[in-house]
Amino acid sequence: MGKVKGADGGAGLTVHLDSVDAKEIVGWCDFAEVSPQEVRFSILLGQNRIPVISRLFERADLRSAEGGNGRRLGVEIDLNNITNRRAILGCVNGGTVESPLSVTLIAEWQASQATSRSIELSRDEFLQTAGFLPDRSGQWTDPNDFEVFLPSGDRPHERTEHEIEDLKTIAFYLPQFYPLAVNDRVWGQGFTEWTNVVEAKPNYPGHGMPLKPADLGFYDARLSATRKRQADLAKLFNIDAFCYYYYWFSGQRVMTEVIDDLLRVGGDDFPYCLCWANETWSRRWDGSEQEVILKQEHDPDEDIKLIDELIPHFRSPNYLKDRGRPILLVYRVEIMRDPQRVVAAWRDAARRAGFPDLYICAVASFGFDDPLSFGFDALVEFPPHSATAESIDPKKLDANPEFEGQIYSYKSYVDNYSKRPDYDAPCHPGIMPRWDNTARKGTASHIFHGATPEEFERLSQIAIGRALKRPEQPPLLFINSWNEWAEGANLEPDRDSGKSYLEAYRRAWVSHTADPDPTDENRRLRVENSVLGKMVEQNFSIAAQPVTNLEPAILASADSQADELRASVDFLNGSRGFVNTIARTLHRCRISGWASPPRQSETGEPIATYLRLTDQISGEAFYALVDQHTFREDVVAFLGWDGSTSRQMGYEAVLDLTEVPPGYYDVSLLQFDEKDGTIVSWTSGTVGRLYRG
C-alpha cells in the first residue's frame, strides 16, 4: 500500500501490486481525484526503474472493497509486449539486477508518485518462465524478439534518429500579395507587399536592393495558377509544406482569401498548416502598440472560439498532422492572456472533433522559451528572433550617411547557430535564408549582410541534423520564409539570386541521405528491364487459335442427349463477357473463362472443348479449340463442388479470326467426343457476343 509522496494537499492516489507471473504483472490503482489518463505507470526491478506500457481495466473485486471514494481500476503490465520485454532485458543485461528480485509498481502523477508493496521472487525463475534465456556468456536473450538476430546497435528499435525521408520542411507563407480593404484604407489603394518591395533603396554599395521577383513575377496570391506554381517549385526543392499566417482578431478575420481557398476541394493540393499571427497590426510592422491598425484584445473566452474556425482546415487531407494530431502554431504566446486555459480548451475541441489531440507549438518570438508551462507541445525557432550575430559597422560597408539601422554578419549567425546548445524545452529548428527589412524600414532597417546560398546550405545542413536528432519529437524544420519579400527573407527566386537558395536547401537535404550511386541506379534499371521483358514475352507469345468452319457433318446440331455445359466467358477482348456487352474485334480476340471439366469419355479418348461462334443472321458456325488448363479454385468453391471435380477448368486463348467473315456472332461452348463424333455437352444459351468488324 503506498500513498502519494510529496504531493501538495495529497491527491489520494494509491497503487497496489497483486501478482507477478510469466505473462503479466497485475495490480490496481485508486485514482481518487486524479484523471486516470494523466497517470504514468512504471515498475522497479530491484532499484532500477523501468517505464512500461500498461493497461487499465475494470475489476469486479475492487468495486465492493471498502474505504476510499475515488475511482479504482486494475492495472496490467503485459510481459508479452515487446516494448516491455526490451525494457526489462535492457535493465537485466545492464547488470544491476540481483536475485532475489523485488518487483514494485509505481504510479506517477505530475510531480508526485505512489509506490506499491514489493513482491520478491527468484530472478532467474522469473526471467525463464517469461521466456528469456541465458546465453553462454551470461547475458540474457529474448527469442520472442525477432531483432535478437540483428547486430546490437543496428536494431530498428534502437534507431536513435529519424530518417531524412521522414523530415517535414515547412516554409512560412505570407498571404499579403493581393489588395485588402484594411490595407487599402491604411496604406493606400492597391497596397500589397510588392508596394514596399519595389520602393526599397540600397543603403550601401552592393546592397542588392530592391529585390525583384523572377520566376513568379509580381504575382497575385489569389490566383490558383500562381499558388500551383509555388507548390510545384516547393516540391522540386524538398519543401514539404507551407505554414500560412492566420489573421484573427477576436472573431474578426483579415487576409482570408488564400486561406479560404485551401478549403475548397481540389484547392491547392499541397500540404499546409496554420500559424495564428496574433500580434496587433501596427503601422510599424513590428506588432507594437503604437500606431495601431487592428488591435488584438486577447480575451481568453473569445480566443477559445478560434478553434471552431480552424477545425475545418484540420479535416482537410492536406492539413499537416503528426500521428493524427493537427499541427498549429501561435506566433506570440507572451501577449496571450490565460494561454493555459485557451490551449486546454482548444485541445478538448480537437478531441471532440475526432482528432487524438493537437500538436500545438509556440513560436520562439521575443525571447519566449517555455512552451510546456503554457500548455504547448514545443517551441519553433523563428529567426531573426533567436539569431545571435556580430554587428558590422555600417561605415565599413561605406553606408549611406542617413542610415541609422543595424547591420549584422549572416556568416556569424550561421557560426553561432552551429555552436549554440540545445534549448531545454522541446524545440523545432527554424532557419532563414537571408534577412533584410529595408523594404519596410528604409534607412532604419536591420540587415544580415553576407547571406549567400553556400552559407544557407551550411546552416540548413546543421538544422536538418538537429531536426532528425530527437526521435521522441516529430521531425519538423521551419524556414522563415517562403515569401516574406518585404523582409528580404524569401526563398522564392529573385532576379539576382534566382533559385540558388532553394537549390542550396535541396543540396543540404540530399547530403543527409546516403550517397546516391549512379551505377546502382543503372543496375536497377537494367534488372527492371530484364524482368519486365520476360513478362512481355510471356504475355504476347500465346499462339493464336484459328477459328475455322468445320465440316458440318462432324458437328451435328443440338444433340438431345448432350448435357447442359456449365460455362462462362470472363473476358472477351478486355471487356467482361456479359451477354449484353458486344466485344469488338478485327482479326484477333483474347478470350478467357471456364467451363465444367470434360467428363471421361466412354472410349477413354479425350473430350475436346470448342468455342463456337454462330453468325446471328445466317446461323453459320465457326469453331476454335480451347485448351482447359487453368485451375479455377474460385469457381469450384463458388459452385460448391466436391474434390473429385477439382480439375483444371479455366481456359485462355487468343483467337485468330481471319477466316471468319465480318458480322455479329453469338459465343457458346461445347464439348465433343472426337472418337464417337458426338457432342457431350454444350451451353444451350449464349455466353458472349462478338462483333467481327
Binding site: T129, E147, S316, M535, F631, V636
Partner: protein, 302 residues
C-alpha cells in the same frame, strides 16, 4: 563448396506424427546435417517421444549434432523457431513442421540448387498429404500443387509473387542461409502470418528461388485450412503488408528484384494495380496526388 545444414523443428502437440517426421530427417541423403528440436511445452508426450527417438544410436549418430530443448511455458511458434535458429550452427537452416514428413532428397536437392544458382532462400513445390479422405481438403491440396507455381510464373519475380500471398505455403518449406538472419531478423510474434512476414522481410535482401519439384509434403488436418478467414489473420496481414510497403518505399531494398519504386521506377504502380495492392499502397504511402483520398469521405465536413 561444401555447406553444412541444420534442421530446426519446432514441436507442439504432435505426438502422433513427430517420430515419422524425425525419422524422415534422419533418412535425408545429405551427410552434413544437424538437428535442433524445440518443444513448446507440449501438453501431450511429444517431447518424450522425440527425446527417446533421438537418444537411439542409429538416430543420433547420423547427425553432426543433436539438440533437444523444451520451453518452460508455451511461447508460440515464432518463439520456438527463433530459439531453434539461435541454437542452429549450420550454414543453411531448414525449417520443418513437426507433422510434415520430409522427402528424402529435400536437403540434397536444395543444397545443390543453392550451389548452382547462388540462391540464398529456397522453397519447393508442395504436395499434400490427405489424412482420412476429407473431400473438401482435396481442393486445398490441389490448390497447393499448382497455384504457388502459377503465381510465381505469372509475376515479374518471386518477390512480387510473395507480395501477393505466401507462395512458400509454410515455414516447413523454408530453407535459407543462416547469415540472412543478421539482416532479416527472426520471426515476429504473429499467430497466423509469421511465415509470410518472414518471407517478405527476406525478400528485401535476397531473391528467393522456387525448386520445381514437389519436395515438401504438407499434412492437411481436419480443421479449416483457410486461415485467411480469421479476423486475427486479417489484422496481421494488414500490418505486415503495410510494413512491407513502407519499407520498400522508404529506401531501395538491397534485393533489386524486390517490389519497390526504386527497383521498378516505370512500372511499380501498374504492377501494384495488377496484383491488387494498389489500394493499400494509396492508403499507406503513396505520394499525395490529386484524386488520392486519404481521409474517408464521412469525416470531411465542409
Amino acid at each position: 563448396m561444401h555447406n553444412s545444414a541444420t534442421y530446426v523443428v519446432p514441436l507442439y502437440n504432435h505426438a502422433a506424427y513427430v517420430e515419422e517426421t524425425l525419422r524422415s530427417i534422419v533418412e535425408q541423403d545429405y551427410d552434413d546435417l544437424a538437428l535442433v528440436v524445440v518443444d513448446d511445452a507440449s501438453a501431450d508426450n511429444s517431447f518424450e517421444i522425440a527425446s527417446e527417438f533421438l537418444s537411439r544410436a542409429e538416430s543420433k549418430n547420423r547427425f553432426r549434432c543433436v539438440d533437444v530443448v523444451r520451453n518452460d511455458t508455451n511461447q508460440g511458434a515464432h518463439y520456438a523457431l527463433n530459439r531453434g535458429m539461435m541454437i542452429a550452427d549450420g550454414d543453411v537452416i531448414f525449417l520443418a513442421n513437426s507433422d510434415d514428413p520430409v522427402p528424402e532428397s529435400r536437403v540434397s536437392s536444395i543444397m545443390s540448387l543453392m550451389e548452382a544458382s547462388g540462391a540464398e532462400f529456397v522453397v519447393t513445390q508442395v504436395e499434400s498429404l490427405h489424412s482420412g479422405g476429407f473431400a473438401r481438403d482435396h481442393v486445398f491440396g490441389d490448390f497447393l500443387r499448382y497455384t504457388p507455381t502459377r503465381t510465381i510464373d505469372s509475376s515479374p519475380s518471386f518477390s512480387w509473387a510473395a507480395a501477393r500471398w505466401q507462395v512458400g505455403v509454410s515455414t516447413g518449406n523454408f530453407a535459407f542461409r543462416k547469415k540472412l538472419l543478421a539482416e532479416v531478423g527472426g520471426f515476429k510474434p504473429y499467430r497466423y502470418c509469421h511465415d509470410w512476414d518472414f518471407l517478405l522481410r527476406a525478400c528485401l535482401v535476397t531473391e528467393p528461388e522456387l525448386l520445381r519439384e514437389p519436395l515438401y509434403r504438407y499434412r492437411l488436418h481436419n480443421e479449416n485450412s483457410f486461415r485467411s478467414l480469421s479476423e486475427v489473420a486479417e489484422a496481421e496481414t494488414d500490418e505486415l503488408l503495410t510494413g512491407f510497403l513502407r519499407e520498400t518505399n522508404r529506401k531501395p531494398p538491397s534485393n533489386e528484384r524486390c517490389p519497390s519504386p526504386f527497383n521498378y521506377p516505370s512500372s511499380y504502380t501498374s504492377l501494384l494495380k495488377v496484383f491488387g495492392l494498389y489500394a493499400r499502397y494509396q492508403k499507406v504511402c503513396a505520394p499525395y496526388e490529386k484524386g488520392h483520398r486519404t481521409v474517408s469521405p464521412r469525416l470531411v465536413e465542409i
